[in-house]
């Protein structure tokens, strides 16, 4: 293993993936490296399969081809029990928070500890309160998830995600649907948790402005593969039209405004040859 590889927590090589229920190819020949201890932002237009990529890294989906190495283990080839071993080292913050609705905030955060450790309830309580303190919700420990606002639910879920002190934390659209204040809070939390806990963070998002302020590395995915990667500065200075369109949020460009269709004139005039012009 070379030193460059050792510095990467996740190495994805030549990944092909298509959902079993559709012929639509999501990834073709995608390769990607996630550096250890850094915040990597994965960006791309909606519907490009960014969440799918996180599920592939977590072993919830299996690729048709390619390798996904997490700390030297090829995730798609692991047996169930080995995969579960590795999953204890990673954690994922879901877009909805995915708190268990039948448990209080406290029990939600204690849940992974009770499942995977033999710690006494007193120690679990200490850990849970520390994690809640880190996200600023120590006072909300007795509330049920239904009583939390969207931003608080996401912070509680974040406390649960760091309960077992994982090495990797994957954020699925952490800023989606947040008001500016809670968005600022979450941006700050991602940064501070990454630095103070020595985590490796992967943030999947399309909120460009927020993530560029904290990311160490930015990866842009489009057209089934990585189209650009580098530090935020490198990408901001890039003159690639696609990167430019994406970072400045222009409606039309290399990523077309229109979903593939025959041209409007052809469709209205009923021209039959329209199909050959699709795309």
């Amino acid at each position: 293993m070379t030193s460059a590889q050792m510095d990467d927590l996740i190495v994805i090589e030549n990944l092909d993936f298509a959902h079993s229920y559709g012929a639509h190819q999501v990834y073709k020949g995608l390769s990607l490296r996630i550096p250890r201890g850094k915040i990597t932002a994965i960006m791309g237009p909606s519907g490009i399969g960014k969440t799918t990529l996180l599920r592939l890294m977590g072993g919830q989906l299996k690729p048709q081809r390619g390798t996904i190495e997490f700390a030297g283990h090829n995730i798609p080839e692991l047996s169930r029990s080995h995969l579960y071993e590795q999953r204890k080292r990673m954690s994922m913050l879901f877009q909805s928070g995915a708190l268990f609705t039948d448990m209080s905030v406290y029990d939600n955060i204690a849940f992974p500890l009770r499942e995977h450790s033999k710690l006494s309830e007193e120690i679990i309580e200490t850990i849970v309160l520390m994690k809640l303190e880190a996200v600023g919700l120590r006072g909300a420990r007795h509330l049920m998830p239904a009583e939390l606002s969207g931003g608080m639910a996401r912070r509680a879920a974040l406390a649960r995600a760091i309960a077992l002190d994982p090495e990797l934390i994957m954020y699925d659209e952490p800023f989606a649907g947040q008001d500016p204040i809670s968005m600022g809070v979450i941006v700050k939390l991602i940064k501070s948790l990454n630095n103070s806990l020595g985590l490796t963070s992967v943030v999947v998002t399309h909120d460009v402005a927020e993530v560029l302020t904290i990311a160490d590395k930015v990866v842009i995915i489009a057209d089934k593969k990585v189209v650009a990667e580098g530090s935020p500065e490198e990408l901001k200075n890039s003159d690639d039209p696609l990167i430019h369109q994406f970072l400045s949020g222009e409606a039309d460009g290399p990523v077309p405004f229109h979903y593939r269709a025959p041209s409007l004139a052809e469709e209205i005039l009923g021209a039959q040859q329209g199909e050959s012009h699709a795309g």
Partner: protein
């Protein structure tokens, strides 16, 4: 035309794939070393929500069905001067057929639909995925306790249903219509056999419990995680489970009493 044939083929393939998925789900949920310390509280919690909360509907329906049986049975039997046989008539209809079948149908409507909707929503809100990412197997944690809770509680509910039903028949037949009290009970005792009637009823009930709970869990676990998908899955649970119960009841009756 060709599209229709293709559609038919797809429907057949989909249903076979669905059955396979359901089978794999159940096997993975049930096989593995039991962890009593963790699963006991989960089982109790589910026994409460699946079993105890179904008690009211079971008791009320049992009472009314027993009362109707008493009334109908009496008006038929009295023409032949055979109203003394009201006791065994009510008891046998309940223990052999109505108890297990009606309980299973009510259970599918009350608890089965709730199980499907609950699991479907857990899937839609990514709770199942988050369990998996926390290295906790949702099949062991979510599916397995619910399956056992359904499997254990339905036969108990069916027995309660039959007992309450017999009491309803007694109220109408003896208290209201004047059938002799002693004859009602003693003829019933003489005609109801443990193995042939009660045990067979319990076996039926166990089979229905297995099938209804399995269908409800499968429909929830493999539903399309959207509001339309969950509503379809819930409807499909009630319809499929009810038809399965009625069909199986015929087969079991033919085997046991045919």
């Amino acid at each position: 035309m060709l599209d229709r044939i293709a559609g038919l083929g797809k429907a057949v393939l989909d249903s076979i794939a669905g059955a396979g998925q359901a089978m794999v789900m159940l096997l993975r949920a049930l096989i593995g070393k039991p962890q009593l310390r963790k699963s006991w509280p989960l089982l109790m919690q589910q026994m409460y929500s699946v079993g105890v909360l179904s008690l009211i509907i079971i008791v009320v329906s049992g009472l009314f069905i027993g009362m109707v049986l008493g009334l109908q049975g009496y008006t038929i039997l009295v023409d032949f001067g055979a109203e003394q046989s009201l006791g065994p008539m009510v008891a046998l209809s309940l223990l052999r057929e109505l108890g297990p079948v009606v309980t299973a149908l009510l259970f599918a409507g009350r608890a089965g639909s709730a199980l499907t909707a609950e699991i479907g929503l857990m899937k839609a809100t990514e709770q199942l995925s988050s369990l998996e990412m926390m290295a906790v197997d949702p099949l062991r944690r979510v599916i397995s306790p619910r399956f056992w809770a359904g499997f254990y509680s339905m036969p108990l509910l069916a027995l309660i249903f039959s007992a309450v039903g017999i009491y309803g028949g007694y109220l109408v037949g003896v208290r209201w219509l004047g059938v002799d009290d002693g004859a009602f009970w003693s003829v019933m005792q003489a005609n109801v056999e443990w193995g042939q009637d009660i045990l067979n009823g319990i076996i039926k009930s166990l089979v229905f419990a297995f099938v209804v709970t399995w269908i409800a869990l499968h429909k929830g676990y493999h539903c399309v995680p959207t509001s339309v998908g969950i509503s379809r899955a819930t409807t499909s649970t009630v319809v499929t489970a009810s038809l399965a119960v009625l069909g199986l009841d015929f087969v079991l009756t033919a085997l046991m009493f045919g």
